[in-house]
Structure formats: structure tokens, C-alpha cells
């Protein structure tokens, strides 16, 4: 009796060698494509000092990985990149441990809420829509604001005007809030209510959208809580690290959507890309960097908007819902 007939052409064998089967995403993908994506996003994240989740998750969705698996797997990818970042900031004593722990209290609550929402939306069949809508709203808004800021700064410099030093407003209402606490390393004395609220918001968005949230968190901490620039990035990285670790564990335990193989490939590509990105970032001026980042964020938001508005190629989709007895 003849064995299995293998009709593989040389071309197919060639493809087999670079294809890797992702166990949870359940699709074969080109390993070099994933490494390149990891490196490209790593480059951008190193350049701008951000996690890059808002780029990685959409890229994975665009190559055919389901939004659920993309969001859950990117969480562990961000955990890796923010850990190496946080370690560097820790050595430079640029992390405020007290502020980080208050943020984390909110972050843990937000992540739990986020994963619960994620599970609920998935069972209702509206997860993909909500991920896309969140991206449109958040990225268009934040990207638009960043782009506008960067553009104005560049125009001012071009006209030779002195940059108007925008003093953060007094934010009387924030200082009127109770439960004040002194954060020594950041040299601020503020109510913990807005800090916990920011933690909840970032934790929630991170779990639902597969983003670290650094690009929202840093401006919020600077303008609302008035955390000095010396500690803001390191402290925000601690929040990103812990919420993303927590999100990975929760997504794995409840939705079983974390693809460790996918995450590992992205991590390897990401850490390499980030090194080159960081060097490139030092060669570009601050306002130009902000303009570029704003454009990038805006572009991803628009891409999602277009996808929602145009008629899909296929109106039907199928998904397994489990084995019935």
C-alpha cells in the first residue's frame, strides 16, 4: 500500500520552509514577514519612545490574524518591550515608585473591566466592530491633536517667533479633590483620585484595544497631574508593563487567545528594531517627531474608518463557538 502521496512542487516546498504555523491564531504565516513587522514597529517605538501597540495590533489584523488574537498576543509583546524600557529608567532612577503604585491600583481595575468587556463583546459578535471603532475614535482624536501641535510648533519656528511657553493651567478642580498624597520623587502633592482614574482608563483601553497606551498616558500625566518630564516616561512604562502582564494572564485564562509563538517572534523583531529606532529618533527635532507621530497615529485611525465605511467584500463571516454536547 503506497504511503501518503506528496504532490509538493519545489515552489510549495520553498514556501513551507519560511511558513510557521501559529498554534492559537490557527493560520500559517511567513516568519520573515512577522519578524519584519516586529522590527518596523520596534523601530517606530524606539524612535518615538512609545510601546507601538497601536501599530502592531492593526498590522496583525491587516495580515489576517483575527482581532481577538491580535489584541491578546500584542499585550505580551508590549510587556516585553516596556520591561526592557522600564529597566533602563529604573537604573537612572527615573521612576516614581509611589506614583506608579497608585496608577497600578487603577490599572489593575481597568484591565479587569477591559477583559470582561472584551469577553462579553466577543460572545455578542461585536468585538471586531468595537475594536475598529475604538481605534477610529481614539487614534483620529489623539493623532489629529498631535499633528496640529507639531504643525503649529514648526510654523512658529519657521516664522522665527519665540515659542509661547504654555504653562499648564492651574486645574483648580483637581487640586480641590480630597485624598491628597505626596509623591516625593516627582515632587508633586496631588489627590490620588485623578491618578487612579487615569490608571483605570489606560488599563481598560489596553485590554480592549491591545495598546500600551503610552501615547495617551504621558500627555495625561504631564498636563493633568503635572508629573515632571524626568519621571513621566519611566513611571508610565511601569504602568504599561504591569497592565499588559495582567492583561496577558487574563486573556489567556478567559479567552484562550494569546498566541505565544506569535508574541515571541514579534518580541524578537521588536527589540532589534527599537535599537535602531532610538538612534534615528535622536537625529530628528522634537516638534518634527511629534508631527510624524501624529501623522502615523492619524493614518492608522483613518485606515480603520475606511474599513468600516466601505462595503466589505463578504458580508458573511463564520466563527467556531465550541463543541456542543
Amino acid at each position: 500500500v503506497p504511503a501518503v502521496s506528496r504532490k509538493a512542487s519545489p515552489n510549495k516546498q520553498e514556501r513551507q520552509r519560511v511558513q510557521i504555523y501559529l498554534p492559537i491564531a490557527d493560520i500559517p504565516v511567513n516568519i520573515f514577514l512577522l519578524l519584519a513587522m516586529g522590527a518596523a514597529v520596534g523601530f517606530v517605538s524606539g524612535m518615538f519612545g512609545i510601546g507601538g501597540g497601536f501599530l502592531m495590533t492593526p498590522l496583525l489584523i491587516f495580515v489576517g490574524i483575527t482581532p481577538g488574537v491580535a489584541v491578546a498576543s500584542v499585550a505580551s509583546h508590549i510587556a516585553a518591550s516596556s520591561f526592557s524600557g522600564a529597566l533602563a529608567y529604573w537604573r537612572r532612577r527615573a521612576i516614581d515608585p509611589a506614583l506608579a503604585s497608585v496608577l497600578l491600583t487603577g490599572g489593575i481595575i481597568g484591565t479587569t473591566l477591559g477583559v470582561t468587556t472584551f469577553t462579553l463583546l466577543r460572545s455578542l459578535g461585536q468585538l471586531d466592530l468595537m475594536i475598529a471603532l475604538s481605534y477610529v475614535v481614539l487614534l483620529s482624536g489623539v493623532g489629529g491633536a498631535m499633528f496640529w501641535e507639531g504643525l503649529r510648533a514648526i510654523l512658529r519656528a519657521y516664522r522665527g517667533e519665540a515659542a509661547t511657553i504654555r504653562r499648564p493651567g492651574s486645574h483648580g478642580w483637581i487640586h480641590g479633590l480630597p485624598l491628597k498624597m505626596r509623591f516625593k520623587r516627582s515632587k508633586i502633592y496631588i489627590s490620588i483620585i485623578p491618578v487612579v482614574a487615569i490608571g483605570i482608563l489606560i488599563g481598560f483601553l489596553g485590554a480592549v484595544m491591545g495598546i500600551g497606551g503610552g501615547f495617551i498616558l504621558v500627555p495625561l500625566l504631564i498636563y493633568l497631574v503635572r508629573v515632571p518630564t524626568s519621571t513621566v516616561i519611566g513611571t508610565s512604562m511601569v504602568l504599561t508593563l504591569v497592565t499588559m502582564m495582567f492583561a496577558t494572564v487574563l486573556h489567556a485564562a478567559t479567552n484562550h487567545l494569546v498566541d505565544a509563538v506569535l508574541a515571541l517572534i514579534l518580541m524578537v523583531g521588536g527589540v532589534i528594531g527599537a535599537q535602531f529606532g532610538a538612534r534615528a529618533g535622536q537625529m530628528i527635532r522634537g516638534e518634527q517627531l511629534r508631527l510624524l507621530l501624529g501623522l502615523l497615529v492619524l493614518a492608522v485611525g483613518i485606515r480603520f474608518a475606511v474599513q468600516l465605511v466601505i462595503r466589505p467584500e463578504d458580508l458573511f463571516t463564520i466563527r467556531e463557538t465550541g463543541v456542543s454536547e
Partner: protein
């Protein structure tokens, strides 16, 4: 007296419906080339071969037989949901959905000639010949019901599964090597679901059902990939913790390797 007449009537009815055919005494003997297909991380799909022969008793002559064969391969069953997008508030969102209960994850129907030539429409429906005649149970809330072949959700479901290579119908796939010896290929795409696959081989002659036989094969995932997929489903928490530890290790290694301060 009346009892024996009833019994005769019953047998006649069976003959008429083609369930029992006393004039023929064919037997099917089949085998698949591999009863256990292993899926490795670089598995890119393969093709199994099903061989078989029609064994006859002395009276039946091969020349007059004119056999037809229909091979049905069905993979592990699972619940699936089909959703339809509609335009609401200017954007396309999932609105309506239908759940298919215990639908096969893989379904292939092979024959030696078109189903219309093999059997009458009535027999095609009864023997579930062809993707449009296979029974797929749909849960249109709240009751279960087998749906009509022209249902939009059912058609979309079969079409999408066919696009992924999981559902297929080929009425030229079965070839007779001699008048009684036959073979067919069973293509298995890369993302094929794991589990037990049932193969049902039905023999028809001159538009009448003659006999059938069954065999099965198994698709298993092996190696690291299977270990990952299994752990993720059975020990989600442990899997999550290990993945997190892996992320921390990678991040720590990166900070050591690329340390600049």
C-alpha cells in the same frame, strides 16, 4: 397470515426505497493510505488516498454493473456561527446571525460522475449526496431546524468553508482503475481541523443505492505546536503566566544586550 403479508410488504417497501437490494450481493473493501495524519509546525497540507474495490458474488457481472461511487469525508463536528453585516449609521456592522449546530469542520463529497447522473433528486436528498443536500442543523432561535438549501446563511456558510478549502465537492475525483477497483484523493489543507474524520463510501448502480461501508482516519497535531495549543486551552492560567515570564525574559535580555549606560 396478515403478519407475514405485512413483513413482505415491508421488505418490498425497503427494496423500493433502495435500502435493501437482494438481487445484488456487492461488498465494498476500502482503505486509506494513512490512518493517522500528523500536523507539524511546517505542515502545508497534503493529500490522502482512498483505495477500494467492489467485491461481487458469482452472479453479478462487472460489465452489466455500471457502478457509481460517492465518498463523503466529514471532519470533527463543532458549533459555528455565521454572521451577516449590514449598513447601520453609515458603517458595516454584524446584525443577523445563525448558529450551526455540530457542523463538520471538514466536509468533502467525491463521486465518479455528477450526482444527477448517479441518483434521482429524491435519492440524492435522502442519501445526502452533494453539499447542497448535506444536512446542516441551524439554530434559528429558539427551535432547532434543518434548513433549506437555499437559505442565505447556509449558502454563505458553505461558500466560506469552501473558500477556506474545508468544504469541497468534486464529481470527477473518484476514478475507476478497473471496473471494480477505484481510488480517490482526499486533499487536506494546512489549517485543517484536528480530530477524527469519518469516511463513508456509498455504492450505487443504475440509480439505485446498493451498499455502503465506513472507514476513518485521524488528524493529530504533534510537537511543540500541539503542546502550545493544548496548554492554552486546558491550562489557560499557567499558559498566561509562562507567556508573561517569557515576555519578561525577552525584555530583560534585550536590556542586557543593548545596554548603553
Amino acid at each position: 397470515m396478515s403478519a407475514s403479508r405485512l413483513a413482505i410488504g415491508f421488505v418490498l417497501a425497503l427494496i423500493a426505497t433502495g435500502i435493501v437490494s437482494p438481487t445484488r450481493a456487492e461488498r465494498l473493501i476500502v482503505s486509506v493510505s494513512n490512518h493517522r495524519v500528523t500536523v507539524t509546525p511546517n505542515y502545508a497540507g497534503e493529500e490522502l488516498v482512498l483505495f477500494g474495490s467492489v467485491e461481487k458474488d458469482g452472479q453479478t457481472h462487472a460489465a452489466q454493473a455500471g457502478y457509481d461511487l460517492v465518498v463523503t469525508v466529514s471532519g470533527p463536528r463543532t458549533d459555528m456561527v455565521t454572521r451577516r453585516k449590514e449598513r447601520r449609521f453609515g458603517i458595516w456592522i454584524n446584525t443577523d446571525s445563525r448558529q450551526f449546530i455540530a457542523a463538520p469542520g471538514y466536509l468533502a463529497l467525491f463521486a465518479n460522475r455528477p450526482f444527477e447522473a448517479i441518483a434521482s433528486p429524491e435519492l440524492q436528498r435522502r442519501q445526502q449526496l452533494g453539499l447542497s443536500n448535506v444536512q446542516l442543523t441551524e439554530r434559528a432561535s429558539p427551535d432547532d431546524a434543518d434548513v433549506m438549501p437555499d437559505d442565505a446563511f447556509r449558502r454563505a456558510f458553505v461558500r466560506l468553508q469552501s473558500q477556506r478549502g474545508f468544504y469541497r465537492e468534486d464529481t470527477t475525483a473518484v476514478t475507476f482503475l478497473t471496473s471494480t477497483l477505484f481510488r480517490t484523493g482526499i486533499p487536506l489543507p494546512a489549517a485543517v481541523p484536528i480530530g477524527t474524520y469519518d469516511v463513508e463510501i456509498k455504492l450505487f448502480a443504475k440509480g439505485v443505492y446498493v451498499t455502503k461501508t465506513d472507514t476513518a482516519f485521524e488528524i493529530v497535531k504533534v510537537g511543540f505546536e500541539q503542546f502550545v495549543a493544548g496548554t492554552a486551552r486546558q491550562n489557560g492560567l499557567v499558559y498566561g503566566l509562562v507567556t508573561t515570564a517569557m515576555a519578561l525574559m525577552t525584555g530583560w535580555l534585550a536590556s542586557i544586550v543593548f545596554r548603553r549606560d
